[in-house]
C-alpha cells in the first residue's frame, strides 16, 4: 500500500494502517530548529534548513526527513509567504538562537541591538515593518498597522486588496509544483490561499505594505457584531475570487491533489469558541458551503478545515458545510476528549491531528509520557480510518528531539511491520 493509498483509505473512513502527516501544511509541521535537530538525530546530511514559512519559522521537511518520520504526505506549496515575498532566492541567515538557516530573498530583517527582529512586507525595508520577533523569541507576530477608522468612509473593498485572480507567475509556479509532485506515491496537500474566511492571522495583512480597512484584531472581532454587512461584503467578494481561482487551479492540478487546505480560521479558544453556532451559520456557513460544494462538484479533493481550540459545539456545522477534514483536533481544549470526538463525529469527518499535545506533553513531558499519550490517541482515533496522525498544530521551538522521536517510534510500533 502506498502512502497515498493510506491517506485515501483514511479519508474514506476505511480501516488500515494509520496514515501520517509531518510537514505538508503550515499547520502540521515543525519549527526550523526542530527540523535541524531531527536531521541530526536521523543522521541525514547536515545543511542549513530552509525556512519555508517565515512567520512561524517553520522548516522544510525534505523528502529524506519525511521518509525517516514516516510521513505519507507531500506539500504542493504556494508561491508566496505570509510577508508577501516569494519563497525563492534563498540565502543564509543566522537566527537569534544561533542556527544557520536558509531564508528567501525577500527576508530582509532589521535586527536591533535589543535582539528584536523586524520583517517587512514584500521585503521592502522602506515601509514600516509588518512582523516582529521579540528578543529571545522564536516566531514572528504581525504588527497591527491600523489606520484611524472613520465609520462613514469604511469601504469593504479596502479589506479585499489581497484577494486577486491567480496571475501568470502563480500559474507558472503551480505548473512547476505539479510537475514536481505528479506521480508521487504520497498524498499531495495543497492550498491556494484566499479560501479561508476571516482568519485572524491574516487580518493584519503582514503581506501588504499599506493595509487599509479593518486590520486591528479587536476591531475585526468587534466588526463581527457591529459591522456585519461590511464583513458579508468582504466575504462575498473573497468567495467570488476564490471560486474563479479554484477553477484555474483545478485545471492545472487535476487529480494530482488529494487534499485542499481551505481555511485556517480559528473558531475555538482554550475553553470556548470565538462565536456562537448562530453566528457561524449566519456569517461563515454560506461561504464555506460554496467553496466546499464547488470542490466536491468539480474535483476528487477532500477539503481541510483548521481550527484550534474547543470547537466541539461547531463540529456538526463544519461537517454540515461540507468540510471533510478537521485539524488540529486540540484535545487539550475544553470538551475535546478524543474518545468522545471519535464516537460522536468519527464516521463523518476525518481528524487530521490530535496525536499529541504540543502545549504540554510534547514540549515538557518525558519520552515515555509522549509515547503513552501517542499510543492512547492512536487507539482512540484510528479504528475504521477517518484519522491522519499529526501533532496538535506545529511542533514548537525548544521541543526536545527525543520526544519527537518517541512520538514517531510510537506510531511505527502501533502500525507494526508494513509490507
Amino acid at each position: 500500500m502506498t502512502s497515498r493509498e493510506k491517506i485515501q483509505r483514511a479519508l474514506a473512513h476505511q480501516p488500515g494502517p494509520v496514515a501520517v502527516d509531518f510537514g505538508s501544511t503550515g499547520l502540521t509541521s515543525f519549527h526550523v530548529s526542530c527540523v535541524a535537530a531531527l536531521r541530526e538525530h536521523y543522521g541525514l546530511p547536515r545543511h542549513p534548513v530552509k525556512v519555508t514559512e517565515p512567520f512561524q519559522m517553520l522548516g522544510e521537511v525534505e523528502d529524506d526527513l519525511a521518509r525517516a518520520l514516516g510521513s505519507d504526505c507531500v506539500a504542493a506549496n504556494g508561491r508566496g509567504t505570509m510577508f508577501g515575498f516569494a519563497n525563492e532566492g534563498w540565502h543564509e541567515w543566522r537566527t537569534p538562537w544561533g542556527q544557520e538557516v536558509l531564508v528567501p530573498a525577500g527576508f530582509r530583517p532589521r535586527v536591533e541591538t535589543s535582539g528584536d527582529v523586524y520583517l517587512f512586507p514584500e521585503g521592502d525595508t522602506t515601509v514600516p515593518p509588518s512582523g516582529h520577533m521579540p528578543a529571545n523569541g522564536y516566531f514572528f507576530d504581525a504588527i497591527v498597522r491600523q489606520e484611524p477608522i472613520d465609520e462613514d468612509k469604511l469601504d469593504p473593498a479596502d479589506n479585499c486588496e489581497e484577494f486577486k485572480p491567480l496571475g501568470a507567475e502563480d500559474i507558472a509556479h503551480w505548473r512547476r509544483e505539479f510537475d514536481r509532485v505528479r506521480g508521487e506515491t504520497r498524498a499531495v496537500v495543497a492550498g491556494i490561499g484566499g479560501t479561508g474566511f476571516g482568519d485572524i492571522a491574516l487580518v493584519p495583512a503582514a503581506f501588504l505594505k499599506h493595509p487599509k480597512g479593518i486590520r486591528d484584531i479587536s476591531e475585526w472581532y468587534v466588526s463581527l457584531v457591529e459591522r456585519r454587512d461590511y464583513i458579508h461584503k468582504v466575504f462575498d467578494f473573497q468567495c467570488e475570487v476564490a471560486l474563479k481561482n479554484l477553477a484555474t487551479f483545478a485545471a492545472l492540478a487535476g487529480d494530482t491533489v488529494d487534499v485542499l487546505m481551505v481555511c485556517g480560521t480559528d473558531f475555538g479558544t482554550q475553553n470556548s469558541q470565538f462565536c456562537s453556532p448562530a453566528t457561524f451559520d449566519e456569517l461563515y456557513a454560506p461561504y464555506y458551503r460554496r467553496i466546499n460544494d464547488w470542490v466536491h462538484a468539480h474535483t476528487r479533493w477532500k477539503t481541510f478545515k483548521h481550527s484550534c481550540g474547543a470547537v466541539r459545539p461547531l463540529i456538526d456545522r463544519f461537517i454540515g458545510v461540507g468540510f471533510d477534514i478537521l485539524n488540529p483536533v486540540q484535545c487539550s481544549a475544553k470538551d475535546m476528549d478524543p474518545v468522545r470526538l471519535k464516537a460522536d463525529f468519527g464516521d463523518r469527518i476525518t481528524f487530521w491531528g490530535g496525536g499529541v499535545d504540543t502545549q504540554r506533553t510534547l514540549p515538557f513531558g518525558t519520552p515515555a509520557e509522549v509515547r503513552a499519550e501517542v499510543t492512547e490517541r492512536l487507539r482512540a482515533f484510528s479504528p475504521n480510518g477517518g484519522f491522519v496522525f499529526n501533532t496538535i498544530h506545529n511542533t514548537q521551538a525548544r521541543t526536545p528531539v527525543a520526544n519527537i522521536v518517541a512520538m514517531v517510534d510510537a506510531i511505527r510500533d502501533f502500525n507494526g511491520p508494513q509490507p
Partner: protein, 212 residues
C-alpha cells in the same frame, strides 16, 4: 434605581449610544459618579463575565461591551478624579517577555476595569523587572501575567520567581493564557490562576480577601 439597572443592561448588551445617554441622564439627575460606576457599570460587566463564562456570549460580544463601558468611563473618570475618588484595588497586567499576544490579556484587563479596579496595563513582551517596578510604583494588589506560547512559559516562571523575591508582601500574582493550567500555576508559585477572562474578576477579588 431603574436607570442604574438600565445602564447595567446597556453595557452588558454593548449598546454604546444607550450607555452614554443613560450615564448622562444619571449624572444630570444627581447620581454620584461613584454610584454610576459601582451600581451601574460594575454589575453590567459582571454580567458580561458570567455570560462569557457560561459560553452565552463570546469574545466579540465581550469586546463590544467593554467599548460601551469605556465610553461611559470617559464621562465618569474626570468627575471621579475631581472628587478624589480612586478605585479600591490596583492591578498590574502584561504579557510576559518574549510573547506579543494580547487578546486574552486585554480581555482580562477590560474585565478588571469593569470591576472598578485601577488597571496598569504594561502591554506585551514585559520583562520581570518591569512587572516588579510597576507593582512597586503603583502599590499593586494583584499582578497578572499572561502567556500564549509554550516557549514563553519559562519567562512566566522566572517573572513569578522575581516578583516573589522582590519583597512585595501585599502583591498577589495571577497567571493565565492558553497553555497555562492550575497545575502549572501551582508549580511556579503563582497565587491564582484564571482559565478565562470571565473568571478573572472573582479570582482577583478572592486573592485580595474579598468574598466574590
Amino acid at each position: 434605581m431603574p436607570l442604574l439597572t438600565d445602564l447595567s443592561a446597556a453595557v452588558a448588551a454593548g449598546k454604546r449610544i444607550d450607555t452614554i445617554r443613560i450615564t448622562q441622564e444619571l449624572l444630570a439627575a444627581g447620581t454620584s459618579p461613584q454610584d454610576v460606576v459601582e451600581q451601574g457599570l460594575v454589575p453590567g460587566m459582571a454580567n458580561v463575565g458570567e455570560l462569557f463564562r457560561r459560553n452565552e456570549i463570546f469574545v466579540p460580544e465581550m469586546l463590544v461591551a467593554a467599548r460601551a463601558m469605556k465610553e461611559a468611563l470617559k464621562l465618569l473618570e474626570p468627575l471621579l478624579a475631581k472628587a478624589g475618588i480612586k478605585p479600591k484595588y490596583t492591578v498590574v497586567i502584561g504579557t510576559v517577555q518574549g510573547d506579543l499576544h494580547d487578546i486574552g490579556k486585554n480581555l482580562v484587563a477590560m474585565m478588571w476595569k469593569g470591576a472598578n479596579f485601577a488597571v496598569v496595563d504594561l502591554g506585551t513582551n514585559v520583562s520581570a523587572d518591569r512587572y516588579v517596578a510597576a507593582a512597586r510604583e503603583h502599590n499593586a494588589n494583584v499582578v497578572g501575567l499572561s502567556a500564549l506560547l509554550t516557549t514563553t512559559m519559562p519567562a512566566m516562571k522566572e517573572t513569578v520567581r522575581l516578583l516573589k523575591e522582590a519583597n512585595l508582601p501585599n502583591v498577589k500574582i495571577m497567571v493565565g493564557g492558553a497553555p497555562i493550567t492550575q497545575a502549572f500555576a501551582d508549580e511556579i508559585g503563582a497565587d491564582g490562576y484564571s482559565a478565562d477572562a470571565g473568571s478573572a474578576v472573582n479570582i482577583a477579588l478572592k486573592l485580595v480577601g474579598e468574598a466574590a
